[in-house]
């Protein structure tokens, strides 16, 4: 094959090498700029490898972003856990306990995942103010849990559809009820579903910006907002925003590189493809 179509193979590898280089360029730029001393960063030498490594960029960026990172960890872990558990229960009902109209309800759920969030922003802002949750992390967690329900429910529903209904039927004949079937049969089979859903939710919530900036006060700002502020100033020396970007990207990037398979499954589930 390789011998028969050398021209095609050469084109294939050349195109892939070129594309891969282009896709890695921003990562290269972020790393080398983060490792430079502010004085060494000039536009004409932007592509050059650092003359001397400035590892201090990372500790300095970490110092500045620490409160935001702590907020994001709390936010992401709790919102991911809550929305995943709720999604699992919902998916169980939608796939194994269908009732009249459950498909319509499910479709109405899904709609919530496709709305531009500006449409709910003002009432959400008002509602959180009314119940004294505006400005802090609990309000943000609530928002992420509620608007995470459509996607988590969708992933679990499609996942549970693969569990044979006969398994549920026979358990029911043995006298198992709604919750014991869930706990004894469905939940133990759900580990991959939980992995896919929680990875998906983790990356989504970690990366979210709009609610972070609209619904939290300074002390509760998540990492994306902290980074935007760090990078937003005009007279900023670029090693700090780059180091901050790398820090902010690290958790999701790690997940992606080591658990990429599950991440892709989350992606595919997110496209409503059954």
């Amino acid at each position: 094959m390789t011998a028969r179509l050398p021209a095609g193979r050469v084109f294939l590898y050349a195109a892939l090498a070129l594309l891969a280089a282009a896709y890695l360029t921003p990562a290269y730029m972020a790393v080398i700029t983060a490792l430079k001393f502010p004085g060494d960063i000039t536009l004409p030498t932007a592509w050059n490898f650092p003359v001397a490594f400035n590892w201090g960029s990372f500790s300095e960026a970490l110092e500045k972003l620490r409160p935001n990172l702590v907020n994001s960890v709390i936010l992401t872990v709790s919102a991911t856990a809550l929305s995943t558990v709720l999604g699992s229960l919902n998916g169980y009902v939608f796939s194994k306990w269908k009732f009249k109209g459950s498909e319509v309800v499910f479709t109405l759920f899904l709609f919530g995942m496709f709305i531009p969030y500006q449409i709910i922003l003002i009432p959400l802002f008002q509602a959180l103010r009314a119940v004294n949750l505006y400005g802090g992390l609990p309000g943000l967690i609530l928002a992420h849990v509620v608007y995470g329900l459509p996607i988590t429910t969708l992933i679990f529903r499609n996942f549970y559809a693969q569990i044979p209904t006969s398994l549920i039927e026979s358990a029911r004949l043995d006298g198992a009820g709604f919750f014991s079937i869930y706990l004894r049969i469905v939940f133990p089979l759900s580990v991959p579903g939980f992995v896919v859903t929680s990875l998906w939710q983790f990356t989504q919530i970690w990366n979210e910006f709009l609610w972070g900036i609209c619904l939290t006060r300074h002390t509760a700002n998540p990492i994306t907002v902290g980074l935007a502020q760090l990078a937003g100033g005009q007279a900023v020396s670029w090693n700090l925003p780059m180091a901050g970007s790398i820090l902010a990207a690290l958790p999701v990037l790690t997940i992606y590189i080591f658990l990429g398979r599950y991440f892709i499954r989350g992606l595919l589930a997110g496209s409503v493809k059954e």
Partner: protein, 372 residues
């Protein structure tokens, strides 16, 4: 039988909290925003505990589309159309191209897939920050040609004030008619082979007549605005489009690649036996089979393009008029200017645009499920 009944009740009660949450937070809030968009809530005392809110009907929408002060909204809307079109074309085209390359099973496929997909895992704020530096006028991408002996590029990626494809907002109706005619004609041409005369009668002929009428009768159409107002494609948005395509083409690649892998080997072998070349295999077999994936990708990407808030914010800040987007304008209007009613109206416009894509998609996927 009694056991079954209580179990069903338990199932429903398990779902109930989520139904209530979605009902209130999605549907209730959408309704509330729609109502607020028809009030005068804003300016002084907007943030009071109990603000005075009067119902004023569709006035905010009239202002947005025809008011002198809201020219920025109209340009942002035009920007949003271009953002969407270019993101769709770029991410679908590039993603499909990479997927076909990877489907040829090169060595290191796993590694390459990771390389093309990693941008997708990043936050728009992270990628926006990095791309802002890459697109700095006298550095980054602009000086890359000098490394191969070419002169540097002088394009101001994020701050250019050049505008192409300009049109006068007054002629909006005429332009919309042209667009409709254009889409009908293109669609008709695509259908020509399959449907022949029907395509001519249903699409080509009416499309041509509509286009001719819009051209001849353009002068008689009511004007959408009282004075000349030029809008167009802002070149400053190119950098943002490039960054977004970089970030999301891996997503379409993953979708298509999964689709290609799902095509049975029998099918591939049969095509080969029939003498189909690689190009013919993709053109006539693989890509048509993956039509549902293309539709999913278009839906998700157009949804993302309507939410480009984050990356524009990170790359040019929210106040840059050239790269504006209704999503940002909604934020500025609502949370900076405290004009909640108008912010709500902008949100409703965004929502309606999104809904025209999403609702048909959801309804059809619901029917497909029901039919199974």
């Amino acid at each position: 039988m009694r056991v079954l009944f209580t179990d069903r009740t338990k199932a429903f009660l398990t779902l109930l909290p989520s139904i209530i949450l979605i009902g209130v937070f999605v549907y209730g809030f959408i309704g509330n925003t729609a109502y607020l968009s028809m009030t005068d809530w804003g300016k002084e005392g907007a943030l009071a505990v109990d603000p005075v809110i009067n119902f004023i009907g569709p006035q905010n929408y009239v202002d947005l589309f025809t008011g002198f002060l809201d020219a920025r909204f109209r340009q942002d809307l035009v920007n949003a159309v271009f953002y969407s079109v270019f993101l769709l074309a770029g991410a679908v085209g590039l993603g499909l191209f990479i997927a076909i390359l990877l489907d040829r099973k090169p060595r290191g496929e796993d590694f390459l897939r990771t390389v093309f997909l990693y941008p997708m895992s990043l936050s728009f704020i992270v990628s926006g920050t990095i791309w802002r530096w890459l697109l700095a006028p006298q550095g980054g991408v602009n000086i890359l040609p000098t490394y191969v002996g070419l002169p540097p590029i002088h394009f101001r990626w994020l701050s250019s004030t050049d505008m192409v494809l300009q049109f006068n907002w007054q002629n909006l109706l005429q332009i919309l008619l042209y667009l409709t005619a254009f889409i009908m004609i293109v669609w008709g041409l695509l259908r020509l082979k399959e449907e022949g005369g029907r395509a001519v009668r249903r699409l080509l002929l009416p499309g041509s007549i509509l286009g001719a009428l819009a051209w001849l009768g353009g002068g008689f159409l009511p004007q959408a605005y009282f004075m000349e107002e030029i809008h167009g494609f802002n070149l400053a948005t190119l950098g943002i489009i490039m960054a977004t395509v970089w970030q999301y083409s891996g997503y379409t690649m993953a979708l298509y690649l999964a689709g290609f892998h799902g095509i049975s080997q029998d099918m591939v072998d049969a095509a080969r036996l029939d003498g189909a070349s690689d190009a013919a295999y993709y053109r006539y077999i693989a890509i048509p089979m993956l039509k549902p994936i293309t539709i999913s990708a278009i839906i998700i990407l157009s949804h993302i393009s309507l939410k480009m808030f984050d990356i524009i914010f990170a790359m040019t800040g929210p106040d840059n008029g050239q790269t504006g987007h209704p999503a940002l304008l909604m934020y500025l209007t609502t949370f900076r200017a405290n004009d909640f009613a108008k912010g709500a109206a902008i949100a409703v416009v965004l929502f309606l645009v999104a809904a025209t894509f999403i609702i048909p998609y959801l309804v059809s996927s619901y029917h497909k499920k029901g039919g199974k």
